[in-house]
Symmetry: C2
Subunit: 184 residues, 2 copies
């Protein structure tokens, strides 16, 4: 059904904060939503054209030659609220690490160990990043009305990362047990 709806929603969200160019929309998504969202130019520009066609955004002369800033119309803001209220589409399930571990017998405990160690290390790195971002968001006072919501998403990242670390450590212990049984 609904075409480019995910992209449409993300674009409306960032334009809801302030008017900007397509280029800036992508930068905002990368920098602010990078932990849980991504969009490419190949999605953003067609989406902006479609949003303009349906009257949800307005196009204004940009500061540069050939550039345009887009801003939400009141229809656009209504649509944004409507889309935000809709339940989100279920994400396609494709977890390569789990697939590899489910068939772990094929690779054996040592190779699985490596996979899990890599997962643990990247989760640790992620956690450190989240903690850094938390500190800078807590220090930030430019958008106090958004702060609490931003912290909620950071907290989700921290919980997820910590869960991954805990699971990895447990799993490494269990793989050691596995290994002993085969070695002896």
């Amino acid at each position: 059904m609904a075409r480019v709806k995910q992209t449409e929603l993300a674009v409306l969200c960032v334009l809801g904060v302030q008017p900007m160019t397509g280029y800036a929309v992508r930068a905002a998504i990368r920098e602010q939503l990078g932990f849980f969202w991504s969009e490419s130019f190949g999605q953003i520009y067609p989406a902006l054209a479609e949003l303009e066609r349906t009257g949800l955004v307005e196009r204004h002369e940009g500061t540069r030659a050939g550039s345009s800033t887009y801003s939400l119309t009141s229809d656009g803001r209504a649509r944004l609220v409507q889309l935000l209220k809709e339940p989100d589409a279920p994400a396609p399930r494709r977890d390569g690490l789990m697939l590899r571990l489910f068939f772990g017998r094929v690779l054996g405990p040592d190779a699985c160990r490596e996979l899990v160690e890599r997962a643990r290390d990247s989760a640790r790195q992620q956690l450190a990043v989240y903690e850094g971002v938390r500190a800078s968001v807590e220090a930030e006072t430019t958008f106090p009305e958004h702060q609490a919501y931003w912290l909620i998403t950071i907290s989700a990242g921290e919980h997820t990362a910590r869960a991954a670390i805990d699971w990895a450590e447990e799993t490494l212990a269990s793989l050691d047990g596995q290994r002993e049984r085969y070695v002896r």
Copy 2:
């Protein structure tokens, strides 16, 4: 680059356990990998044709008229091991709940509360499902060499679900604080 590589890997994985029809491949993926993987017929049949063309699987007469069972060739098994060793492709990031909460200011604390409650409830349900599956896998003795690996993936699901529940409960408390500040 590599086309249908994800599907190719999943199909090789399940055919690595035992030869079966395309229909049965899909059933196996649904029933056994359902928590972290999905494939549709529209992927599976072309993938099987391609795998046969490249000599990674062999096609045999099935028990029924017009049906075929596929089995791994030795090339196919080598390819399976090779693909399992490769690091998994990063999943596309698109978390609708996080997007909604990041822009939570637009909907306000009450609507966000509902979103988080729904997330908590579905995580609780998930956790119950995982615990049920764990019990039946622990009771199962048909594939003892796979059991430990299956439990690892179930454990990952449990950790993820528990993290989601913890985060949701924390977040609900924080949203209450948010609400009070605006009401008073």
